[in-house]
Symmetry: C2
Subunit: 352 residues, 2 copies
C-alpha cells in the first residue's frame, strides 16, 4: 500500500513529505521538504501558544490544508498511485499534562492543516489529528515516534535508543528483543529550538555555536529543572523553551547547544545497556553538536540513514505508518511511551 | 441503526442531544438539552469570533468533548445500544465566503468539542467536523439542514417549505417530487434574535409582543434592505441583527416580530406552488408569531411535530442523520443549498 505522510514540525520551517510503500517492511519512495513563505511562517508563529483572533486560526487551518496538499504534489509521485495520506498538521498548542480548567483536569493539543482540504484537493482519503485519541485515553499525546522506531530498529540482541533532535529532542528506548510494551520514550528537553531562535533560521552545522563558550553557571541552573529528573513518560512543549525562556535566561547559542547535548546525554546514561544511538531529525546535520554527543555518549552513534531512513523524513514517514495502522483499525500509540491507559486507534478519517 | 446526534448552537445555551433509529425512516428515541454552567458558556463566548489565547481554545475543545459525552449519557439511552455518534460541536468561527488571507482566497470554519474524547468516553465511533468538506469543495459549509428537510418532508405531489425559526430564520424549499439538486435553501432574515435581545431571555410565547403596535414606517424602511430581494443561496449572520441593529433602528418588540413574519412571508411567497410550511426551531413555541404567520401565509402551516420531529431537536437529529450518511460513505451536503461544486462525504471519523 502506498501511503504519504505529511508534517510541519515545531521549528515551523516547512512541510515535510514522505511517500512510502508499506508491506512487511517500509520502503521510502520519495521525500521532500517544502519551505513556508516567510509570511506564512510568521502567521503560524502568531497563533502558536499565544493570544490571537479565532479568525486567524480558522483561516490558517484551511490555508495550511491547501499548502499540505500542494507539498505532496511537489514530490512528483502521481497522486493516483497513493492510496492514503497521514497528516500530522502543525501543532499550535500542546499541553500533555492535565491542568485545572473550569473545574476539570484537562490535557489538550491542537494541530491545524485542514484534512478535509487535503482530501478534496488530492482525491485521497486523509487521516489527521493523531494525538487526540491518545490524550483522550489518558496519554500525553506524545511521543508517537516510538511506534516507528520500534518497527525500524528493534533487534534481538542489541538494546537501542532512537534519538530524534527536532525542535524538541526525544528518545525511544528499545531493549534487546523488546516487545512494544517494553519500549520507553520521552522528550529529553530542547532539541534545536532554542538554538534556532538565537540564530534564525538555524545554525545548521553548528559552526555558529563552535566559537562560543558555555556559560556553566547558567547551564547548571537550567539543568536543575525538575523536568530532567522526572521519570518517563514525559513530554515538553514549545512554550517551555520559547521566547520567554530565552528572555528570562539570557541564554547564548553555545550554552543552548550544550543544554541540548547534556540533557540528551544524561537521559541516555540512564540506560547503560544501550548498544546503538540512532540519530534523526534536523539536529543530525549539526556537525558540532554530533561531535559533542560523540564525546558525551558511550554507545555507538549513527543516524537513521544507516537504516534507509532520511534523517529529515522520519516524522513524515511516521505519519504515513500511523495512517496505515488506523486504516487497518489497529492502534498506533505505545502506552508505555505516551502514558495512555490503553492502545488507541489514532486519528480522524476524512474521505476524499 | 441507532445513532446519536449532538450539537451546541449559536445561542450557546447548552448541548442538544437526539438519539434516533435510522432505517428506511427516522424514529426519534430520545431528545435532551443539557444547559451549560454559566462559566462554560462565558468561556465559549470568550473564544467565539474574537481575540483569545490558543490555550483556551485547545482546553475548551477537550472540555466540551467531555461535556458532550456526558450529555449523551444523560438521555438514559444505554450506550451499548448506540452504534454511531454525529457531533456538530460548537461553532466558534464561521466565514462561508472566501476572504483574502496571505495571498489566497480562504473560506473557513471552526467547531470545537473534541470527537476523540467523545469516542473514548462513550466507546462509540464518533463523526464530527461536518462543515469542512463542503467548504473544501467550494461550499459555504451551511446550511446543512436541507439534507434532513429533504429526507423528512419530500413528497411526490406536494411542494413544501421547511421553515426553521432560530436566532436567524431559514427555509428549505422542496418542490413536489424533487430530487436533491432541486432543493433551494436560504436565510430569510431575523428569526427570534432581535426579539430575544429586546425581551431577554425570550418572549417565548409572544405574549410580550401581542400588546404592542407595529411601527409601520420603521418596518417599511427595514424591509427596504437589498438582502431581502437578493436571490438564493444567501445567508445572514448574527452581526446583521445584533445590538447595533437595535440601537440604530430603535426597534420595539412588536415591530421586531413583524419584521420576522413579513420577511418569512415574502420569502415564501416567491414559491407560490408551496402546499405546506413545516415550522421548527424555538420560534415554533411563539404562539402569537405562529398566529401572525397563519394570517400572512397562504400555504397550510404545521410544525415538524406532525412528522415526529420535536421542533427543538431537529438540528441534533440532523447530525445523527449526517453521521449515518458518512458511515455509509454517502454525501451529506446539498450543493444547491451550500454552493459546493459537488456532493461531499462530510465529517471526520474517530474510532472508539
Amino acid at each position: 500500500m502506498r501511503v504519504a505522510g505529511l508534517i510541519s514540525g515545531t521549528s515551523v520551517d516547512g512541510i515535510d513529505v514522505a511517500v512510502v510503500d508499506i508491506d512487511d517492511d517500509i520502503k521510502v519512495v520519495a521525500t521532500k521538504t517544502v519551505p513556508y513563505r516567510p509570511e506564512v511562517r510568521a502567521s503560524i508563529l502568531s497563533v502558536s501558544n499565544t493570544t490571537t483572533h479565532t479568525a486567524t486560526v480558522a483561516r490558517l487551518n484551511f490555508l495550511l490544508g491547501e499548502l499540505f496538499a500542494e507539498a505532496l504534489q511537489k514530490t512528483g509521485v502521481p497522486l493516483e498511485t497513493i492510496e492514503l495520506i497521514g497528516s500530522h498538521g502543525q501543532t499550535i498548542f500542546h499541553e500533555g499534562q492535565a491542568v485545572d480548567f473550569l473545574g476539570r483536569k484537562i490535557a489538550s493539543t491542537m494541530q491545524i492543516g485542514e484534512a478535509a482540504v487535503i482530501a478534496q484537493r488530492t482525491g485521497i482519503e486523509t487521516i489527521a489529528d493523531f494525538r487526540t485519541s491518545d490524550m483522550a485515553a489518558g496519554g500525553n499525546g506524545a511521543p508517537l515516534v516510538p511506534f516507528l522506531d520500534y518497527q525500524l530498529f528493534k533487534h534481538p540482541e542489541r538494546a537501542r535508543i532512537a534519538l530524534n533532535i527536532g525542535g524538541i529532542a526525544n528518545v525511544t528506548v528499545i531493549p534487546a528483543n523488546a516487545r512494544p510494551e517494553n519500549v520507553v520514550a520521552f522528550d529529553t528537553g530542547p532539541g534545536s529550538m532554542v538554538m534556532d531562535a538565537l540564530a534564525p533560521p538555524f545554525d545548521r552545522d553548528g559552526e555558529g555555536a563552535r566559537g562560543g563558550r558555555v556559560d556553566e553557571a547558567l547551564l547548571a541552573t537550567l539543568l536543575d529543572d525538575s523536568y530532567y529528573v522526572q521519570p518517563p513518560p514525559k513530554s515538553c512543549g514549545r512554550e517551555q523553551y520559547g521566547v520567554e525562556f530565552i528572555r528570562k535566561t539570557g541564554i547564548d547559542l553555545r550554552t543552548a547547544m550544550e543544554l541540548t547535548v547534556r540533557t540528551i546525554a544524561s537521559s541516555i546514561a540512564q540506560y547503560p545497556e544501550t548498544a546503538d544511538v540512532i540519530v534523526s531529525g534536523g539536529g543530525a546535520h549539526n556537525r558540532y553538536m554530533m561531535e559533542r554527543l560523540r564525546v558525551e555518549l558511550r554507545p555507538r552513534i549513527t543516524t537513521s540513514t544507516e537504516f534507509g531512513i532520511d534523517v529529515d523524513a522520519k516524522e513524515a514517514i511516521l505519519f504515513a505508518v500511523l495512517a496505515y495502522q488506523t486504516y487497518h483499525r489497529r492502534a498506533g500509540n505505545i502506552p508505555s511511551a505516551t502514558g495512555a491507559r490503553k492502545p488507541a486507534i489514532l486519528g480522524k478519517v476524512s474521505q476524499a
